[in-house]
Amino acid sequence: MIPQSSFMVLAEIDPGRETELRELLASMNDAPGHANPENALVPFARFQTLHVARFLIVDDKTTGDVTSYGLAPEQYPLYLAFLGDVDGEPDAFLAAAARDAGNGLRTIFSCCKDFSAGTDLLRWMKKHNTRSAANYVNWRGRTVQQAREEAILHDAIQNYVETNAAVCGMPAREAHATVRRHIAAEQSAGRITLSPEPPTPLGWKIADVAHLVGVPAIVLLALPVLVPVALLGLLRLRMLEKTDAELCGRVDQAHTDALANIEDHDVSNQFTAMGSLKPGLVRRWSSAAVFFVIDYAARHVFNRGGLARVRTIHFARWVFIDGGKRAMFMSNYDGSLEAYMDDFINKVGFGLNLAFNAGIGYPRTKWLAFDGCEDERKFKEYLRRHQVPTQVWYKAYPGLTAVDLERNGRLRQGVDSPMLTDQAAREWAALL
C-alpha cells in the first residue's frame, strides 16, 4: 500500500509581478480555473502520482476583520501557493516536478520575491513547503494508477454486460464468475491492467503504528494535566464565544459570481477558504488541538471513503500561516458548493463548528460544537465571504466522484476474488 501525502509550496509574490503571474496562470487553463492537463508550463497529466493540484494566489479579502477585536489590520504579503496530493513522499514528487516541469515552474516562481535565475528550484520548493495542521485523504492507499485502472475495469465490465445481455439474467454468483472470466481474458490480452498492490514502505508502517498507539498513550499519560487545562480552556472559550462578533453579512454579488464562474465544470470542484483567527492563546491552542484530533481521526479512522458521514471529499487540509494568525482550508469535493455545504451542515455540523469556530466572524457557537452552522444562511454567507478563487486546478480523474472511485474499487475487489459467497455476490452485482 502506497500512502498519500501532500505538499504546499507557499511563497511571497513580487508585488510588481502580480499581473504577469495571473496571466501566466490563466494561460495554463482550458476552462475557467481548470488546468489543461497538458499545458506547456506544468503538464500535470505527466505526473502519474499526482491526484489533485492547484495554483492559488492567496488573496485574503477579510484581513480587516480583526478590527472587530480592536486590532489594527496586518499588512500580509500576497502569497502564491502551489499545492497537491500525491502518492508516496512529497519530496519525491517535488523532485520529479523540478525535473520534468522545471522550466515552467521556474517561469511561474520567478514572479516570487526570493526566486531568481540562479535559484535551485528543488531546494527552494522544499524550503517553502508548508506543513498542514490536519490532512484528509478519502481512501488511504488508493493510487492514481489504481483509480485509473479501476475506472477502465468498470467501463470494461459495463461494456461486456451491455453486449452480453444474458449475464443480466444470471444469479449474482454466476454473473460474477462469468464477468471474472471475461476480465481475466482481457487481462491476458493486455487490454486491462490490474496492478497488484505495491508493498507498504516499512518505515511508514512503523511510524503509522507508533502514531496510532503513541498518541493515545501520551494523551492518557497527560490526562491529569490535560483535563483541568481543557476544562478551564473550555469555560474560557464558552465565555468568549458569547460576545464574539458574527460577520456573516451578505457577500458581494461580484465576489460570488467570480467564484461561481470557476465552479461546476466537472463533477468535482475545488474549494479554498481562509481568514484570520480570533486572537488569544486559548483560541490558538484550542484550534491546534482540534486540528490535531481531526488529523488523527482522518489518519486512523476516516480513511476508507468518508469523513464521518460525508463521502464527497477527495482530499482536504487545514494549514496555519503567518505564525498561526491566519488559517486556510482547502478541499476537493464532488457536486456543487451548495450541496457540499448542506452535506456538511446536516451530517457533521458539530465537526464543522469545531473546525471553523476559531475563525473571526463565524456564526455564534455554543460550547464550540453546537449552533453555529445550524444557522445555515449565515454559515453559507460566512464561507462564501472567506472563499478565495483558485487560479489553476487539476484533477487526475475528471468526471469521477469519490463514490465512483469507491464503487470501482469494490468492483475490483470482487473481480480479484475467485469465489464470492451468495451475499457478497449480490452486493457486488448491485454495484454496477
Binding site: H34, Q158, V161, E162, A165, V167, C168, G169, M170, P171, A172, A175, V179, R250, Q253, T256, D257, A260, E263, D264, D266, V267, F302, G305, G306, L307, A308, R309, R311, D334, G335, S336, E338, A339, D342, D343, I345, N346, K347, G349, E374, D375, E376, R377, Y397, P398, G399, L400, T401, V403, D404, E406, R407, R410, R426, E427, A429, A430, L431, L432
Partner: protein, 496 residues
Amino acid sequence: MRASEVEFSDVQGLVRFGFGKMTRAAYLLARIKDVAAAKAWLRTAPITTAVAMSPPPTLAIQVAFTAAGLEALGVAPSVIHQFSHEFVGGMTEPSRARRLGDLGINAPETWDWGWRATMPHLVIMFFAADQLDAFIGRSTGAGFGAAFDVVRRLSTSDLDGVEPFGFVDGVSQPVVDWQQQHRSPALGRQLDYENVVALGEFLLGYPNEYRKVTDRPILDADTSTAMLLPAVDSPDKRDLGKNGTYLVVRQLRQDVRAFWQFVGKHANGNGKDAEQLAAAFVGRALNGDPLVPIQQKPIPGIGPNPAEVRQNQFTFDEDPFGARCPFGSHVRRVNPRNADLPGHPNGLAKLAAVFGLGREGFRDDLTSSVRFHRVLRRGREYGPGISRAEALEPAPPNEAERGLHFLCLNANISRQFEFLQNAWVMNTKFSGLTGASDPLLGTRAAIRGCPSTSDFALEQEGMLRRRVAGLPQFVTVRGGAYFFLPSLRALQYFSA
C-alpha cells in the same frame, strides 16, 4: 422562536391552494412600460388571498416580480440586494445554468422567453373556473395596456390531472405546517420520513426546518414602510419578505412522441413492456400508484384518506436494491423519502451512524435528508393532450408544442429548487449511479469527463442491473425565471 399566527389575508392564495377547481389559467409575462401606470394597476388589482372561502373563488389573480421587475418599479438597489443571491442573479446566470442543466438545447440563449429582451418584469397569473378570456379581458383594460408590454402569454390546458406523457400528476405534495405545531426536529434527529414540512420552507418570515428564519429584506421602520409587518427577529424593523415567497417558473416542452416511441422500440413493440419501462422511468404507474408496496405504519402528513394512503404511504426503505423502483427513476430522485440518518439506528448504533462508523452499504448516506429540499408544486400543463396510440405516429407538420409550465414555491431557491434540480434531477451520479440523469427531465449534454449521460439503470435484486442506453432528451427548457411572490402588504409597498 415563538410561532406567530399566519395572517392569511396577507398571503397570496397560491401558497395555500393550487386553485384546482379553477381549471382554466394563463400567465402573462409582462414588462413595465410606464411605472406610474403599472403601480396604479397593481394598487387596484384584486389579488386573491389565502383566506379560505366558502364557496371557493371562481376567479383569481396572483402577481410575482423578477429582480429586474423590482428595479423597473423603482425599488432601491439596497432593498433588492437583500433578496437572495439566486433571485438577484437570475436563473440564466452562466454558472447557475450549468448547475440547473440548462446546457445544449436547454441553454438560456435558445429560450423562447426569459433571456435578455424577453426577461419578464412580472408574471400576472389568471385563474378561472370558466370564461378565462373574458376575465383576462376585464382585468387588463386600458390601464393595463398603458402600464405593461406583454412579452408572452403562457396558456395552460386542463388534461384532467394527467401530465402530457400520460401519467397522473400532482400525486405527492408536502403538507405545509400552517399551524406551526409540528416543531422541526434538530439536525440529525428526524429518524423517519415525514411529509409535514415547516412553514418557513415555503413562506418567508417563519421558522424553517433549521428552526431559523430565512434571510429576506428587512427595512427601517418609517412612513414608507408603515404598511409592512415587523420582523420576527428584529421587531423594530419591517419585514418586506414576510408572507411572501419565491416562485420558480420553467416552461418545459415535453416530446411525448419521442418518449413513447423510445420505450416502444425498446420493448420491441410490446405495449405492456413499454408501459412498464415508462413506469420505471417515472417511478409510478400510469395511474399514479407507487412501484413499491405501501407500508402499514402511518407517515405524518399522509392520509388518512384511503386514496392518499394507497398512493403515498411508502418510503424506499423496503427497496434497498432499487429492484422495484429504480434509484434513477424520476420520483425517487425528486423525493427520496428519507430522514436524517439512514436505517433508523438506536442507541450505540445511532452514535456510530452519526460519526459514519461501520458503514457497509455502498449507497448509505449518499442522499441528503429530504426535509431540507422540498418544494410546493403549482404547475399546469399546456398544449393539446395526446394519447399513447397517437404518440406512436410520426408528428404532423407544425405540430403544436406541449408540456408543462413548471411552477414551484420555496423560501430558499438555492437550498430547495436548485438543490433538487442540481444534486438530484440533473446529477449523473445520483445515489451511486453513473452516467444517468433524470430519465424524464435530464439533459443529455456531456459533462467534463463524462461523455455519456443518457443511461438508465433497471436494478434487479441478486442480479446485475439491466441498462437502457441512449435515452433521447424528452424535455427541453423553453423559458424560465425566478420571481418573488410578495405578500399583499409588500405589494402595497412596491406599488406605493
